[in-house]
Amino acid sequence: MNGVSVAEVDRSSVRWRALSRSLRGGLKGAEYTWSLAFVVPYLAVFVTFVAYPVVYGLWMGSEPSLYRELFRDPIYERTVVNTVLYLALGVNVKMFLALLLSGFFMRPGRWTKVMLLIFVLPWAVPQISTFISIHWMLNGEWGFLNNALYKLFHIEGPSWLNDRWTALGAVIVSHIWKWTPFWTLILLAGRMAIPLEIRDTARVDGATGVRGFVHITFPLLANLYLICTLLSTIFLLGDFNAVYFVSGGGPANSTHVLATLGIRDAFDIAQPRLGVAAVMSALPLVIPLVIVLMRKLRTTEVQL
């Protein structure tokens, strides 16, 4: 006897059958084969385009020595500060403006609609060309802004992109300008979804203007606002274009954010693993955000 008893073999085969039944979900024969045939393509797409890139990225950035090298880089700390500022100001100012503007665009009238059409233009035009235009506009010597200042008021404007704070400010303002229309439309849709009866009843009870906004509109929009803010934060964390094309990460690498630092490390310095590590170092912020977002989406599925 090889040491395995008949009872053990039986138990193992029973367990296997139970597992197999549970995996089949009660399907038998041809039904099971067809279900597999339908699931496999989706599974293949998921593995190829979702699971594989994520796992490959995690693998590339898995060596602790990469993080030691990253933290030794004199510009990393400044980059983290820039990223936090970019997120905090970029997301919150933009979302607050979008909230206010969505209220404005709820006003009836043809002109409001025309203005809405004009207002969404920055979002509709390709972002790279607009960010490059902003870069040129802000050039200290021959940029449009300083030339206009000089022609109109005889003021010598500063070199906007030569100082860390004005350059970072330019990046943040560019981002807000570009993306406020999009989030305004989302919040406008949210406002429009508030049933008319609720608004009418509130109006009858005297909740108009600011009071109506504070007591009726905002509470009903709060969940949508929070979800939009979380989504925008996740999007912005991976945003590369505004920084790359407006300030180029300069002057002297002082306005990099993690996304541009990752690209710089991966391709300018030809160390792709270090680039992945730079981006991965944002995971402690991204993961809680995704968890909160998922929980919010679950708990608010029947709310506005």
Binding site: N139, G248, A252
Partner: protein, 460 residues
């Protein structure tokens, strides 16, 4: 309509799989005479036309096929790095950026192309041959991993009209280093007195973007006697007082010129082509910038600029050092490379052997309007480079091919590529120019960073 059953689906899938499997020999056969090649797009269209002509001529002569992708500079660089990282590589790439040869040579990622180089070894300049080699840390040897195709140096580009407007002449420009650059400060001062509020004397790229600031700093370092910062054996010599003194003087001169208002303020955030644009906008009197892209870019649209207004200073006329001795020019090379894992090494090597024949490679460089230099001294004698009617080419080829030259320092140790790409010296120049740091302190900071980088690339 046929009735679809489970068996028919399975049969169909099996048949499809079999057909695909049987189809493979045909693809494999096609691959036997086909090589894929990536090459960076030129600044002027003529460069791409010249490349396509060379490829088409090879295809006609050999019967092989080269699947050529001409890709803009930055995306190609990213594509190459991604390809080498993933292992799915083309058969030939150009060394974009130049240092990729040494960086990935260190990691044993290139195919040895000694046999290709050997076919024309006697033709190449000594500097080109040095720059085609890389130290392989796996086999602990230097080997030929690159096939020299073209070269570039950093000349000075000057607006004759602005110099003359300032009441001076091109012939007045002194020949020694500091006096040479000081001259343009005087030009600016004179122009300002005439009410020109936005013209600067010097186009120094005091920026931390692109390769220009490193080239500028290294030109000054060599001119001030710091040539031995890294020696041919790959060793770093930071304790050499001459090196430290030269680095301090270089940082002080460039940073000081910016601080004193002789460099356009926006130079601190310039990227690759920004200095060319600023020069064409006559924002500065002179620019220190690699290749003849500044001149070639305006040749068709503004021939009067090309032939009369813009002056290129190479050797002779590129300033000598402060003692009056010639300063060797640092030459950057584009090499042809074959990544390890390439499917068709034989065709790749055959194409490169064809491409570096003096007639072919010479024509390739000349058809590209001479933005790039040839890598073989014999080619400098051609009527194209010696054309007496062209005010730029003769001096340029003299500076980069016939005069004293050295390869870039990453050739000796790839750590220098990291020094360049992490903008160590740019930060030092900016520390002085903008942050008010003393040159000595900025240099100490940079040298410490260099030491950290060199520790990762021990040679010998």
């Amino acid at each position: 309509m046929a009735h679809l059953t489970r068996r028919s689906v399975l049969r169909g899938s099996a048949a499809l799989g079999a057909a695909q499997a049987l189809g493979f020999p045909h693809v494999a056969k096609a691959a036997a005479t086909t090589a894929t090649m990536w090459f960076s797009q030129g600044f002027v269209q003529d460069e791409d036309v010249a490349l396509r002509k060379a490829v088409a001529d090879y295809e006609k002569a050999s019967g092989n096929k080269i699947e050529l992708s001409v890709i803009p500079f930055a995306p190609e660089r990213q594509k190459i790095i991604s390809a080498i990282t993933s292992g799915v590589v083309p058969d030939i790439v150009d060394s974009n950026p130049g240092e990729i040869l040494q960086l990935y040579g260190w990691q044993d990622k290139w195919v040895d192309v000694s046999d290709v180089v050997e076919s024309q070894k006697g033709q190449f300049s000594e500097t080109a041959l040095q720059a085609a080699q890389a130290y392989n840390s796996v086999i602990k040897k230097r080997e030929f991993y690159g096939v020299p195709l073209r070269a570039a140096v950093v000349p000075c580009h000057i607006w004759r009209s602005l110099v003359e407007k300032a009441g001076l002449k091109i012939e007045d420009i002194p020949k020694t280093w500091d006096a040479y650059f000081d001259f343009f400060k005087k030009v600016q001062d004179n122009l300002r007195k005439q009410g020109e509020r936005k013209v600067y004397g010097l186009g120094f790229q005091v920026t931390a973007l692109g390769v220009d600031p490193y080239n500028l700093f290294m030109a000054f370092l060599v001119a001030y006697g710091g040539q031995d910062i890294v020696t041919k054996d790959g060793k770093l010599h930071l304790d050499d007082p001459k090196v430290k003194q030269a680095a301090t003087k270089a940082v002080a001169y460039i940073g000081g010129a910016y601080k004193d208002g002789y460099v356009p303020p926006s130079a601190i955030n310039w990227n690759d082509a920004d200095d060319n644009n600023a020069f064409h906008a006559k924002l500065m009197v002179m620019d220190v910038d690699g290749t003849l892209s500044t001149e070639v870019a305006v040749k068709e649209k503004h021939p009067e600029w090309y032939y009369k207004e813009i002056v290129t200073h190479g050797v002779p006329g590129y300033p000598n050092d402060n003692a009056g001795k010639p300063v060797p020019s640092i030459v950057g090379y584009t090499n042809g490379l074959i990544p390890k894992g390439a499917k068709n090494v034989a065709v790749a090597k055959e194409f490169l052997k064809y491409f570096i024949q003096p007639k072919v490679i010479g024509e390739f460089v000349e058809l590209g309007l001479g933005r790039w230099l040839p890598v073989m001294p014999s080619l400098a004698k051609s009527p194209f480079w010696q054309n007496p009617k062209d005010p730029h080419l003769k001096g340029y080829v003299q500076q980069g091919l016939l005069g004293p030259t050295i390869p870039d320092y990453y050739v000796f140790n790839p750590a220098m590529a990291e020094v360049r790409n992490q903008q160590v010296w740019s930060v030092a120049m900016i520390d002085v120019a903008k942050e008010g740091m003393k040159p000595e302190a900025a240099v100490e900071k940079a040298l410490k960073r260099m030491q950290e980088m060199f520790a990762k690339y021990p040679i010998g």
